[in-house]
Symmetry: C2
Subunit: 529 residues, 2 copies
Amino acid sequence: MNTELKISYPGSEKVYIPGIIHPTIKVGMRKVKQMPTVVMHNGERIETPNADVYIYDTSGAYGDKNMAVDLKKGLPHVRAMWIKERMENADAKGVTQMYYAKQGIITAEMEYVAIRENMNCQQLGIETHITPQFVCNEIANGRAVIPANIKHPEAEPMIIGKNFLTKINANIGNSATTSSMTEEVEKAIWSCKWGADTIMDLSTGANIHETREWILRNSPVPIGTVPIYQAIEKVNGDIEKLTWEIYRDVLIEQCEQGVDYFTVHCGIRLKNVMLAKDRLTGIVSRGGSIISKWCLLHQQESFLYQHFDDICDIVAKYDVALSLGDGLRPGSIYDANDKAQFAELDTMGELVERAWAKHVQVFIEGPGHVPMHKIKENMERQEEKCHHAPFYTLGPLVTDIAPGYDHITAAIGAAQIGWYGTAMLCYVTPKEHLSLPNKNDVRDGVVAFKLAAHAADLAKQHPGAMVRDNAMSKARYEFRWKDQFNLSLDPERAIEYYKTTNSVGGKYCTMCGPNFCAMKISRTLCNQE
Amino acid sequence: MNTELKISYPGSEKVYIPGIIHPTIKVGMRKVKQMPTVVMHNGERIETPNADVYIYDTSGAYGDKNMAVDLKKGLPHVRAMWIKERMENADAKGVTQMYYAKQGIITAEMEYVAIRENMNCQQLGIETHITPQFVCNEIANGRAVIPANIKHPEAEPMIIGKNFLTKINANIGNSATTSSMTEEVEKAIWSCKWGADTIMDLSTGANIHETREWILRNSPVPIGTVPIYQAIEKVNGDIEKLTWEIYRDVLIEQCEQGVDYFTVHCGIRLKNVMLAKDRLTGIVSRGGSIISKWCLLHQQESFLYQHFDDICDIVAKYDVALSLGDGLRPGSIYDANDKAQFAELDTMGELVERAWAKHVQVFIEGPGHVPMHKIKENMERQEEKCHHAPFYTLGPLVTDIAPGYDHITAAIGAAQIGWYGTAMLCYVTPKEHLSLPNKNDVRDGVVAFKLAAHAADLAKQHPGAMVRDNAMSKARYEFRWKDQFNLSLDPERAIEYYKTTNSVGGKYCTMCGPNFCAMKISRTLCNQE
């Protein structure tokens, strides 16, 4: 493994915006410099500059050419000072962002995300609703979450909430059949390069602890896990032998290690398990199937539901956020929006209030496979039942018949539910249903979801979201090809495809050709050429 | 060039459903045979058969292993007999499907599409609104179009309308810079393999006539063109020299050759051209930019608008349908739903009524680049202004920033507008904005749009649309891997990706691995294993 990984983007420079309330804050952003617009007027060349475009940057220190990074040493501890300061002044009643927010305290993390969300707004004078105070209010009322374990000082703060930029998560992790530990670390950093806002390590095979350690120490974004995967390894796959104590120990181990959020399938009730029996595809959540089976074997409520308050007490000490896993999510169009799914959602609503009572940050996982006309009901019902805690969905996939292209079927549903208010979209790769993703699949999945999330931000009219589109379109109309590449979600692929034409660098579309270009003709109409 | 092309799909067989009103009809469909469901009960193996699934088939004779096809000879003339019979009995007042429909005559084409749209319904007893009479009514009132030039007897009838399956179009064609004639023919057949319902030949370079001839004689689906592309070649690119006479001759040449629909930019009015002057990306339609420039150069209404009735008189003789091109469609998020775009739509509404008065079938082209929250207005306004003539959109692309992935940004918008009622979706390939597509890009674009169209059909609750999804999901839950591949939109890619795992053929998900598979555990809950 090459342990000195770097991330670079063409025509871009890493810049840092300082905090005001907390001057130690340095929010990294990617600044794209543009070429000027050139017009010939009466034989004279007139240049008009085009403003820099700031891009939300998830590449961390890897994307800063002035910083040395070595995987064996891990990333710098950007949050260490803030955490230390808070711990010294802690009143022993709580350390979570929600705890501070309820008291009206604006933490460094809150100011950090406020700056991060507003790229381009300050520079271009765009009005924005996102202030540190607004962030604080949203955290206090539970409508947004900053997943930030106090034991994970390497992660750069980010916020998950309806009134913020739509985020995406990339799943990585090995299973018994494929992948190695080093590959997973590379995939994690690779995901950050393409724009993943959080990463979930879903490893189930050997070396779970070490793989996670490598990922945590080298990840600039928050890390989520599904602790039941490690618990089941501890009982050699024998579901019946799972106990609260085993699970609790796994939670504590992972809290200590620095995991930022846990998917916990606490919403599965004994009485609801058999609601899934008439389904076409049963239970498709790994955690959900394990807990359901446990409930039936023991004929009692799961230890996750019974010990939910204990779980909250544990994670509250670290400010690990809970992601209430939808163990009964539909795995097919046929099963969408059924009684099993919605019964679990009702339970989640109850759990949200219990988590908030202990100042635990919480969000809700959602489907799955849902046809387009049933997507809106998912969002509306989630908001109503779960008291506006953030929604975090897997796709949803809008048809079942496209294996090999499920990053697209899922991006279609994701864009739509993101527009309706889902705060984070879990990516799906082209290998979904078929195999575990390789690096190229991860890239395809992340970029597909990045564009879906951005489409949602445009539709939500998020402040400044259109800046990058407008810069891209202006560059397109002016045949500034390099600027187009630099502003792309995936500059490398854009350049690669562009170079397949025979006509590189021309003042015309490579689709229309030199003699017959719509934009070229259009420009002559207004004497722009 | 290999002139003996064949198309095959695994586990599939071409079957033909006969007509009742017109017994000479043979509607080709793809029948997928499934494995039985196997359950072990008290040590006994119990097999339950799974019904055959019928799939809408655009592969024509290429997909029938019993038919010899030679590109040099062209396809069999499936419609020849019907056309001949009608021409012999023609009352000289009209030959269009709309003309017959208005008299309540159910043509063979109408019955053909009724059978074609109802795959699986008859076999599974699913209620359907689509009868030959219903088709006839929809054609009569202009809500649907069967593009079927009487000089193109090779094409298998298909219908474009809101109340039918959502269709997709694939663009092919060379420009001055790339591609050769034979490649384009191969791309056409390749598009049909993956499910293109119509093909537009957008060639602009040399050999326009011969390329089109090859495509027409060998295409099992209707062919559309943009005649202005050939007209502009005739005046060596000098827009000012374009005249009605030159354009008219091109129309007649292409009518005679067998083109099934023409994109005509008749909706551009002199008074509206300058509405686009404040746009970010001006005019991005090639035809639109040419006609706009012509209007400004001559300071008069375009010959296309002025001669619209003459155009209708020409195409009515061949039953070529008109696709009213949106010359002023937005080419960026910023320009979406602007006054230029909507002014053209108003003109199109006027033209629709003029076309219908001459029994000419007509549909309307739409954008382009539109953010999600502005898509619905496009559909609603089009229906209102254009009297429910079918809508045919390019995407729309829901963001500008993803070159290299624009088949996805476009599929997101396409799925949504298809759900709202758009009848045909023009595909976009990953090379959009960057280069002309190669064969693999065509496949990616067609499949992305096929899945978007299918997602729209699910959301519209089209009769029988869910049959394939349900079969796929059942096969998935029962680990019938071969059936999953055979039912996929792209079996070859699904198999290719599946084979990247180490665990082929197992009774568990290749994502979860053998020891930890949700569906495997889920099946044990209900004693299905």
